[in-house]
Amino acid sequence: MPYENDHTEIYRPFTIDRERNYTLNDIPAGPDGIYPFILDLDGTEIKFACEKTILDRFQDQDGQWRFNIKWEVNTINHPPLKNVNDNDIENHISEALTAFGEKHNTSRIGDIVVKIHPHARQNKWHWS
């Protein structure tokens, strides 16, 4: 089951099944450019909101425009996770966002970098 999505191609939600079972539900970004997501990671709900920065835009050897993207997580909220550190969570988020990008914009996503801001756990989650 590589992806689940509705037929309208609206961004939310979808499930990927690689090594872990992910469901990523995106909450539409408003004018502030903050992108909130809810990631279901093996049954644990990780709510995070991030800012998207295009680190690099370049044309590949076929002349196709591609984008390397940094997602800085400025708010994150989740129950305690055993044996999972911030790097692990960054990797899970990166994998989910990569699949998300591949689904919707297959040829255009280059590298994705995810970084959790040190204060992200203290910031309030207020998206529905």
Binding site: P28, P31, I34, R57
Partner: protein, 287 residues
Amino acid sequence: MNKVSDKYIEQLEKAHGSIAMTLGVLKAVEQGQYIPSENLIQSAKSMSATVHPSKKDHIKGYIFASGKVNRLKNIGYQSYTAELTQSSLQLASIADTQATQFIEEGTFIAHLARSLDAENSPFTESDIMHGYIQSDQSRALGIWDHYSAQYAANATGHAVTVTPNSDPERVFVKSELPVLLAYQKLETMNGKPFELFLDYKTALENAGYKGPELYQIIDKDLVQGTSIEYMRSFSKGFQKSLEVPVKHDFNKTFSDDINVLYKEAGNDRSYQNTDTEFENTITTPAH
């Protein structure tokens, strides 16, 4: 990926300003086809960014926001704008517009991403929505700028800004503040009579300031400080989030009563005492 037939583009043009009709056209486009991004953008711009009439009759003012409350800790304004909208102040935000509903529904963004991909555009859907930094380091305007300017043009009554550290290149300073000052429909901003802001603009213009720099100065000198002052009074958590010492101590120059928002603006003329000070602090720009 193939471009849709002209029939779809004609239908999209006919759907001008109607969310239901526009979504109907977008959802009828078959997989493997795309609508040119130029047509999509025109369609998005036709959506109304004024507060819905059913809500407009029940509100007393409008919220504007930009930048971080605390840059080091990456604390955004969102929890404070949410607090304002849920308060008894009866304030509207841009989320109360059809334009926001249209974008947040999701179909448009999905189509825009598909079109930009098909056209091999060097821009992403974020660039189109939020603008992008140009070679001269200024930001090209996005669709949100278009909506925000329309939202500001229709703002009346009392404005509250959550802009303690507004970015001069973002939507508030570039697209909303100039329109608010041009249309002059507000009674107060951040609890201060709106004439205060208009007078300062006039003083700066007389001193030779113009264009983006004019609004950056007004924002930095007046709007940021009054925003901090107002929001500190409104929300206990704001000062804690702000953390850093307040940059502008307006209590020295303005009335101590920072809850002036819903008082008669015309009764508070304390700001007049500062006019001379404004004139004295303006220097002729070195051009």
